[in-house]
């Protein structure tokens, strides 16, 4: 212990005497460890952390697939949920659906809620902190006037008063009795305040077998394996098909499937996070190489001191231990600063991450992450300090004590490390470059609308006053009038959803005269219900025919519109205006009229700017009433003006997501922007660290060669020749790194090929730009030492021994 403390004391003292070295090394390590720890926090929080439910390995996500439509991981209907309860392999099962509701308190507020069936909490084995969960009877309409509140709502809205159980809360205009408080820490797919029963009608649970919208989870009985459950679900699904042939057309090839519940949450995030984690590990590797390089230079400077230590009896192990202790002290400071960097980085990360990264807001530096940081610190110390320590401990005593220089081995190793840094930087820069070029291509793609100068707001009227189509339609019409009346508004329109807001409704329908191939089901496409001036408000061009007008009211002939992709798909080379379609659902006995297509709108890339425009058909909202509408106004108007005007229509109804259309577009790009931004950060970091490495090696080489350079100058070399000599050596070093890096990047780019758009993984322009950038960086980083070399005073250099 005495020895350890003394080694630590000497190490700290030695580092204090060389502040430039210490600060450089600690910063490099802090950046590497900090960035890695921040990304690991996300990986741990999203991919590795337990979901927080007891006996998680028995939880499954039950989905439907229609292999005939190449459709997987789909939802189930309420009758299917009821059927599933009979499966002996499942101990419990339950359904879930997220939605929002208007909370009528002091002022109308839209809150996140979830609808869940009886069995949902039993499946997760979540027991309420106070009160109870839902009974089977409460699944049904009439008994559903109950609610569970989350711990978050209990704390924030109810002052943690247990007597809240039994009190009433009004959501969507319906008073509900709070029957329980869910425990602290419970969440399922995000934070929300209330859990409500579905309130199904008898028709919902007995008849609406084709209305699939439910996320279903189950808990396998002990001893049941996933394979066993798959077999049971196959048999069970076949029985349903046999019993209800009309609901499961053979051409759909419908089947039930199950996967571990974890997949439900992490599948979409896994690939980008793994790529980012790999990228940040490369940054850490560069940081380690940098510090190793600094330590090698330092060991070279300390050659005589180490030789003295060896001469007076320090064995190799002892010297290695002393140098490693110094490495550990550096790592300790690097880790402390790195944790701060990670904390800051994580905040920035959460602020820019897409919502799809599940529960990201709850990702934070915890014990496991800090443990990772410490472990990482230990590993990096071994990585960056061991090789220099081992090398420095192999001392040529006789030469070193006379003040001899270190051998060519150390110089070669340092050069190799710099070449490796350049190579790794090239991999990261190429990755970032390819994503950047893809992103530029995406941005250059026409969205089909003009988001500039338009603002949108979401209306979802709920409550007793809005439980019929007429009331909702009247509300939407009043809201639209109020929006149009705002001073400065040029045009106001509304649609059930708008392009790029991520809310798409699909509908199966019939196209008159469209010949289906054998076994081909009726088409299912995106349906959008819109009000007059919708197309003008978002500036979606009408290419043929006309847009809907006020004349297309409930009494007018039924009409529809389609987009270009629809025409390409179903009527290529033909005139769509005048063709007819028919919506195939609706209550039994109700008339299902054909609707005449009156116009063709330009394409919008609803599935993402980097994806082809999907076929869409539009219906007038007055002829097919929507549950909610997004109002869009164009003109010189602020979001607060729009909110105020719409709130005034009915102060009991919340007005949500009031934002410029450009923000909606931005949000739709976040999935692509997020990894790009991070990879850009990592690439810039890598470039900076490499620049420091190149500078360090060049400066050290110049210092080592001062006498030689002095001789060159003395015998007639010009400053320019010496400058070129030094720069040339640095460029050769960088070139070696580029050679290795291009080979590595070519392999690494395949990892991100799924995220590339309009750019090949071997895009020569990107590689040329990256190589040029690295060349410039090398020249800049080595310019200072090269200039210093060119200005060496030959006499001083020759006198220096």
């Amino acid at each position: 212990m005495d020895t350890l403390l003394r080694d630590l004391r000497y190490a700290v003292r030695g580092l204090r005497r060389t502040p430039a070295f210490t600060i450089s090394a600690v910063i490099a390590l802090a950046l590497g460890i900090g960035a890695t720890t921040a990304i690991f926090s996300v990986v741990q929080g999203v991919l590795l952390r337990s979901l927080g439910y007891p006996d998680e390995s028995r939880l499954v996500w039950v989905t439907a697939e229609e292999r005939g439509l190449n459709w997987h991981n789909g939802p189930l209907s309420a009758p299917e949920v009821m059927d599933l309860r009979q499966m002996p392999e499942l101990e419990a099962s339950g359904a879930f659906r997220r939605k929002t509701a208007a909370l009528q308190a002091d002022r109308a507020e839209r809150v996140d809620v979830a609808l869940v069936s009886h069995g949902f909490f039993e499946t997760l084995q979540i027991h309420p902190r106070y009160g109870r969960t839902f009974t089977a009877a409460e699944d049904l309409k009439g008994n559903d006037g109950v609610a569970l509140i989350t711990w978050n709502a209990f704390r924030r809205r109810y002052g943690m008063d247990p007597s809240v159980v039994g009190k009433s809360v009004t959501l969507d205009g319906i008073p509900r009795q709070i029957v329980g408080v869910l425990p602290d820490g419970f969440s399922y797919g995000g934070q929300r305040d209330y859990y409500l029963p579905f309130g199904w009608t008898q028709e919902d649970v007995n008849v609406a077998r084709g209305f699939r919208y439910l996320e279903v989870i189950g808990r396998m009985k002990p001893g049941v394996t996933l394979d066993g459950l798959h077999r049971a679900l196959k048999t069970f699904g076949d029985r349903l098909i046999h019993e209800h042939p009309n609901n499961y057309p053979a051409e759909f090839d419908w089947a039930l499937s199950a996967s571990p519940l974890r997949e439900r949450f992490v599948a979409a995030s896994r690939e980008p996070l793994v790529v980012l984690f790999a990228a940040v590990l490369l940054v850490l590797l560069i940081a380690c190489a940098n510090v190793a390089n600094l330590l090698l230079a330092r060991a070279a400077q300390r050659g005589r001191e180490l030789a003295v230590r060896a001469a007076i009896g320090a064995g190799r192990v002892r010297i290695v231990r002393e140098l490693l202790t110094e490495g550990f002290v550096l790592a300790l400071f690097g880790t402390l600063l790195g944790v701060l960097v990670a904390e800051w980085g994580l905040s920035a990360l959460i602020a820019t991450a897409p919502r799809e990264i599940r529960d990201l807001a709850s990702v934070r530096l915890n014990g496991a992450v800090l443990g990772f940081a410490v472990g990482l610190s230990f590993l990096t110390t071994v990585a960056f300090a061991l090789v220099p320590a081992l090398r420095a401990s192999k001392i040529d005593l006789a030469s070193s004590l006379k003040g001899g220089t270190t051998g060519a081995h150390a110089t070669r190793l340092r050069s190799l490390l710099v070449a490796a840094q350049v190579a790794i930087s090239l991999v990261l820069l190429a990755g970032a470059g390819l994503l950047l070029r893809s992103f530029a291509r995406v941005l250059a793609t026409s969205p089909g609308i003009d988001p500039e100068g338009a603002i949108s707001a979401v209306l979802s009227p709920a409550g007793p006053g809005y439980d019929n189509d007429a009331a909702r339609l009247a509300y939407f019409q009043r809201a639209l009038q109020a929006a149009a009346a705002i001073p400065g508004v040029q045009v106001a329109g509304a649609g059930m959803s708008i392009p790029y807001d991520g809310r798409l409704t699909e509908q199966t329908y019939t196209i008159e005269g469209y010949a289906l191939r054998a076994g081909e089901p009726n088409p299912t496409d995106i349906m959008r219900l819109v009000m007059p001036d919708y197309f003008a408000a978002i500036r979606q061009p009408i290419l043929r025919g006309r847009a809907f007008s006020a004349a297309d009211d409930a009494k007018a002939p039924r009409v529809a519109m389609v987009n270009e992709a629809w025409v390409r798909r179903y009527m290529p080379g033909r005139e769509a205006v005048g063709a007819r379609i028919r919506i195939d659902d609706g209550p039994e006995g109700e008339e299902r009229p054909f609707r005449t297509i009156v116009g063709e709108a330009a394409d919008t890339r609803e599935l993402g700017l980097d994806k082809p425009a999907p076929p869409i058909f539009y219906l007038p909202a007055v002829q097919h009433i929507a549950p909610g509408m997004t109002v869009v106004v164009r003109g010189k108007v602020s979001p607060s003006q729009l909110r105020e005007a719409l709130s005034a229509v009915d102060p009991t109804q919340p007005v949500d997501r009031v934002q410029p259309l450009t923000a909606t577009m931005e949000a739709s790009l976040s999935q692509r922007r997020f990894p790009l931004q991070l990879l850009e950060c990592f690439a810039v970091l890598a470039l900076l660290l490499s620049a420091v490495g190149i500078y360090g090696v060049t400066a050290y080489a110049v210092a080592q060669r001062t006498r030689e350079l002095g001789v060159r100058l003395a015998i007639g070399a010009t400053g320019g020749q010496v400058l070129r000599l030094v720069l040339g050596r640095a460029l050769v070093l960088a070139l070696a790194g580029v050679g290795i890096g291009v080979a590595l990047a070519a392999g690494g780019a395949r990892l991100i090929s799924s995220q590339l758009y309009g750019v090949s993984a071997a895009d020569p322009l990107t590689y040329a730009a990256v190589i040029g950038l690295l060349g410039c960086t090398t020249l800049l980083a080595s310019a200072l030492p090269a200039l210093r070399a060119a200005r060496i005073d030959p006499m001083t250099a020759l006198r220096a021994e």
Partner: protein, 231 residues
């Protein structure tokens, strides 16, 4: 009873550089007895420093036999060589070679810490050594705060603190002015009087005459020995 501390028979050192063999030392026969003070002299390039490096186990001979206190040392592992250097050899270098990050006390203490000596024993030994060279009052100073002569006295203290069998001094006055040089030589003389065995490389004939025996090297060979080999 054989009281030879150092015995060298036919020791040679050959450097290989780009297929060229350079014989730095050849056929060295040297015996040093306990209590002797041997001066090694010779012109530049004669092999003085190479011989001293081999004597101090800083370098290895390429041929011959070499015994310290009756034990062969040429084939020792690096760890064992470090062990011998730590316990049996004390070094005094021309350029002092004190460690700038450590205080005077810590510099002198360093070989004892490598020996694993308990702290209390170390403290006593360091204080004794510093007292012998008259540097007790500078124990908390850093080497950079000392004059050249003072630094060399600290280096001597470090060399003797571990009570080694042999003291090796490589041009101990080479970096000092004449006054400080004489003071250091007086110190070495006192150590010899107190029973220490010294081997010293020097250019200066006046200092060489202080030794009990002088070994002259030329082109890597011992060409002359003067003085008595008796202690």
């Amino acid at each position: 009873m054989n009281d030879a501390l150092i015995e060298m028979h036919n020791v040679e050192k050959v450097f290989l550089t780009d297929e060229v063999e350079t014989h730095a030392l050849a056929g060295i026969q040297l015996t040093v007895k306990k209590g002797e003070w041997v001066a090694i002299v010779g012109p530049s390039g004669s092999g003085k420093t190479t011989l001293l490096a081999i004597l101090g186990l800083l370098d290895t001979a390429t041929g011959g036999t070499f015994l310290i206190d009756g034990k062969p040392v040429l084939d020792l592992s690096p760890t064992d060589r470090a062990h011998v250097r730590n316990r049996h050899i004390g070094f005094i270098f021309q350029s002092f070679n004190l460690i700038g990050d450590l205080t005077v006390f810590e510099n002198v203490e360093l070989p004892l810490t490598y020996r694993g000596m308990p702290a209390a024993d170390r403290k006593k030994r360091v204080e004794d050594a510093l007292a012998r060279v008259g540097m007790s009052h500078r124990a908390r100073h850093m080497p950079g705060q000392l004059s050249g002569g003072q630094q060399q006295r600290v280096a001597v203290a470090r060399a003797v603190a571990g009570d080694p069998l042999i003291l090796l001094a490589d041009e101990p006055t080479g970096n000092l002015d004449s006054k400080n040089g004489q003071a250091v030589m007086k110190l070495l003389s006192d150590l010899h009087q107190a029973g220490s065995t010294l081997i010293m490389v020097t250019h200066d004939p006046a200092y060489a005459r202080l030794a009990t025996r002088t070994v002259s090297l030329f082109d890597g060979r011992i060409v002359e020995e003067t003085g008595s080999s008796a202690a």
